[in-house]
C-alpha cells in the first residue's frame, strides 16, 4: 500500500538534507526536554567546591564561576530558548496567517490596511524593534515571545496573502462561496490547509532566526533575565571569564550552532521538497 502520505514520507527521508536536519532537530528537542530531568546536576545548583572545573567525567562540559554544571545549564537554557522561539513563531504564524489570508481574501481596504501595517512592521530592523519593545514593556518571558512574534509577523502575513491571492479564484473556493459558507469558515477550512506548506517552510526558517534573536537579546542582558538560564545568558556569563574558563562560552556556543544547524538543514530540506523555486526569496 502506498498512500500519498507515505510517498511524501518516503521522499522526505530519502532527502539527505531534510533527514539529517530532522534528526538533529529531534535530538535537540528531546535533549532539552528530557535532559534536565535525567542529568544529576540541578542547573541552578551552586557548588563553590567545584568552581570553573574543566570538562571531565563529572561535568562533561565543565562548570561555571558558581560551580554550576554547564551541560545542565545549556540544556535548561536551551529548553527556555527553544520554548520562547517556538511559542513566538507559532504566534507570529497564526496572527500573520490570519492577517494575510484576510487581506488576500477580502482585498480592497481590508488588504490595504492590513498589509500597510505589515509593511510598517517589516521596515523596522528586527533586533531594534524587539529590543525597543523589551525595554519599554519589561523583560518578562511573555514579552520576549510577543516581541519576537511581532518581528516575524509581517513575513507570515506577506506569504499567506500572496498564497491566498493565488487560490482565491479556484473553483473549490468559488464552490464553497456559492454553497453559502461564511468567509471565516472558507478562510479557515478551505484556504488555510492549502497554503500551509509555505507557512510551514517559513516557520522552520523563522525558528532559527527567533533562537538567534532571543539569544542576542539575552546576551546583551536585555532578554531573559537571570536566574532563568538561557543560551544567550550563559554565553554572556562565559564571556566574563573566557580566558580562565573558555569552555563555558565555547560549549554553549557550539550547542546553539548545533541546534541552528539542525533547524536550518530541516528548513532547507523542506523548502527543496516542497518548492525548489521558492528558495531563499524571503
Amino acid at each position: 500500500m502506498s498512500s500519498p502520505f507515505r510517498q511524501k514520507l518516503r521522499r522526505f527521508f530519502s532527502h539527505r538534507t531534510a533527514a539529517v536536519g530532522l534528526s538533529i532537530t529531534l535530538f535537540v528537542i528531546i535533549a532539552v526536554i528530557l535532559g534536565p530531568m535525567i542529568l544529576p546536576h540541578d542547573p541552578e545548583m551552586v557548588d563553590f567546591m567545584a568552581v570553573l572545573v574543566p570538562p571531565g567525567f563529572a561535568h562533561p562540559l565543565g562548570t561555571d564561576s558558581f560551580g554550576r554544571d554547564v551541560l545542565s545549564r545549556v540544556l535548561a537554557g536551551g529548553r527556555v530558548s527553544f520554548g520562547i522561539s517556538f511559542a513566538a513563531i507559532t504566534l507570529a504564524a497564526a496572527a500573520g496567517a490570519m492577517m494575510g489570508i484576510a487581506a488576500g481574501y477580502f482585498r480592497g481596504w481590508c488588504e490595504n490596511v492590513l498589509m500597510r501595517i505589515a509593511d510598517l512592521l517589516f521596515a523596522f530592523p528586527s533586533f531594534i524593534l524587539a529590543l525597543l519593545l523589551m525595554v519599554l514593556f519589561g523583560f518578562s518571558t511573555v514579552n520576549i515571545i510577543f516581541a519576537i512574534a511581532l518581528v516575524y509577523l509581517p513575513i507570515f502575513a506577506r506569504i499567506s496573502r500572496n498564497a491566498t491571492m493565488l487560490i482565491r479564484e479556484e473553483p473549490f473556493i468559488q464552490a464553497a462561496r456559492l454553497m453559502g459558507r461564511s468567509p471565516g469558515a472558507i478562510m479557515l477550512t478551505d484556504i488555510l490547509p492549502n497554503i500551509a506548506t509555505p507557512l510551514l517552510v517559513q516557520a522552520s526558517a523563522g525558528l532559527a532566526f527567533a533562537i538567534i534573536l532571543e539569544a542576542g537579546l539575552s546576551f546583551i542582558g536585555l532578554g531573559v533575565q537571570p536566574p532563568t538560564p538561557s543560551l544567550g545568558g550563559i554565553m554572556a556569563d562565559g564571556r566574563e571569564y573566557f580566558s580562565r574558563a573558555p569552555w563555558v562560552l565555547t560549549m554553549s556556543g557550539l550547542a546553539i550552532s548545533f541546534a541552528l544547524l539542525g533547524i536550518n538543514l530541516l528548513g532547507d530540506g523542506l523548502r527543496d521538497l516542497t518548492d525548489p523555486r521558492l528558495r531563499e526569496r524571503m
Partner: protein, 338 residues
C-alpha cells in the same frame, strides 16, 4: 557585424538606457516619497508606543523615591504635561530642524542630536563595511557553487553557507576574537578607528567586527545567488545563447548573472533589517562607539529620547537602503517600474 550596425545597436541601447533611466528616476521619486511617509508613520507609532509603555521617564532620572513635586516639575520642564499630539508635533518639528531633544540619563541634558552626530559615522562605516564584505564573499561563494553545481566545490561552498547561518553574530565575534585576535594576533580585538583619521587603519581595526556582522549575511546572500543563478542557467534564452556559440564567460556575465542580479539585490535589501541588528550586538562586543552602543546604553538607562532617536535613525537607514536597492532593480529590469 559591420560598423554601422554596431553603431546603430549602440544608439538603440543608449536610447533604451535613457528611457529606462528616466522611468526609474520617476519610480525612485515615488518610492522615496512613500519611504518618507513610512518614516513619518513609523515615528508616530514609536512615539506613541513609548508613551504607552509603563514607567515614567521622571522616575528613571530622579529615582524611584522622587517627590510628587519634583516629578511634576520634571514633567513641566520636559513638556510631558502637554497633550500627546502637542508633544509629538513639537518633537517632529524639532527633528525637522535637526533637534532630537535632550538626553535624560546617558549624557544628561546633552542634545541627542549631538550624540547621534558623534556616533552615526561609526555605525554607517561598520554597516557598509559589513555589507561590502558580505556581498564580496557571497559573489565568490555563490558564483563558484552555481558554476560547479553538484561537484565538490559546490558542496564545500554550500556547507560553508549553512554553517554561516548557524553562527549567531555575537558567538562568531568571540570565535574571531579568539582565533584571529588573541590566538594569531593578526587583528586588534577591541576599539575603533575613524575612517576620516586613517582609512587603512579603520579597515584594519574594523575587519573583525565587520566580518562578524557580514558572515551570516554572506551565507544568506550566497545561498540566494546560487539558487537564482542555477534557476537562470536553465532558461531558454541561455540555451539559445549557447546554441549561437557565444562564449560561456560572455553568457554568464550578460545573460545569467545580469538576470540573477535582480532577485539577489532584492534579498540584500530585505536582509538590511537583520544586518542592523548585528551592528547593535557587535558594536557592543568590539567597543565600537556607534548608534547601536548608544541604543543599548539608552536601553539600560531608560533614556527615552535616545531610544526614540536611535530607532528612527535605524528605520531611516533601512528605508534608504531599500529605496536604493529597489531603484537599482528598476534600472536593471524596467518592467518593475510599471
Amino acid at each position: 557585424m559591420s560598423d554601422t550596425k554596431v553603431h546603430l545597436a549602440a544608439r538603440i541601447a543608449t536610447a533604451d538606457f535613457r528611457q529606462s533611466l528616466s522611468r526609474s528616476l520617476k519610480a525612485t521619486a515615488s518610492r522615496l516619497a512613500s519611504a518618507l511617509l513610512v518614516l513619518l508613520v513609523g515615528s508616530l507609532v514609536v512615539f506613541l508606543t513609548i508613551k504607552a509603555a509603563p514607567g515614567d521617564p521622571a522616575l528613571s532620572v530622579l529615582g524611584e523615591q522622587a517627590s510628587p513635586e519634583a516629578i511634576a516639575a520634571f514633567h513641566k520642564e520636559h513638556g510631558l504635561d502637554r497633550p500627546l499630539a502637542m508633544q509629538y508635533l513639537s518633537w517632529l518639528g524639532g527633528v525637522l530642524t535637526g533637534d532630537f531633544g535632550a538626553s535624560l540619563t546617558v549624557a544628561a541634558r546633552q542634545p541627542v542630536s549631538a550624540l547621534l552626530f558623534a556616533k552615526l559615522p561609526a555605525t554607517l562605516f561598520l554597516g557598509f563595511y559589513a555589507l561590502f564584505l558580505a556581498v564580496a564573499i557571497s559573489l565568490l561563494l555563490g558564483t563558484l557553487a552555481a558554476s560547479q553545481r553538484g561537484k565538490l566545490t559546490d558542496t564545500v561552498c554550500t556547507s560553508i553557507s549553512v554553517f554561516g547561518i548557524s553562527m549567531p553574530d555575537f558567538w562568531l565575534s568571540y570565535v574571531l576574537i579568539y582565533f584571529f585576535g588573541l590566538g594569531l594576533g593578526w587583528f586588534p580585538t577591541y576599539g575603533y578607528v575613524s575612517p576620516g583619521e586613517s582609512l587603512v587603519d579603520a579597515l584594519y581595526v574594523g575587519f573583525l567586527p565587520a566580518l562578524a556582522i557580514a558572515a551570516p549575511m554572506a551565507a544568506v546572500f550566497s545561498r540566494t545567488l546560487r539558487a537564482v543563478l542555477i534557476e537562470t542557467m536553465t532558461r531558454p534564452y541561455v540555451t539559445a545563447a549557447r546554441a549561437f556559440g557565444l562564449k560561456s564567460g560572455f553568457i554568464f556575465l550578460h545573460y545569467t548573472f545580469r538576470n540573477a542580479l535582480v532577485p539577489y539585490l532584492t534579498v540584500i535589501g530585505l536582509q538590511i533589517r537583520y544586518i542592523l541588528g548585528g551592528v547593535v550586538v557587535v558594536e557592543r562586543i568590539f567597543g565600537v562607539p556607534g548608534v547601536g552602543s548608544l541604543m543599548v546604553d539608552g536601553s539600560f538607562q531608560r533614556d527615552y529620547p535616545v531610544l526614540l532617536a536611535c530607532t528612527i535613525v535605524f528605520l531611516a537607514i533601512v528605508l534608504l537602503v531599500n529605496t536604493v536597492t529597489d531603484s537599482i532593480c528598476t534600472l536593471l529590469d524596467p518592467r518593475r517600474s510599471r
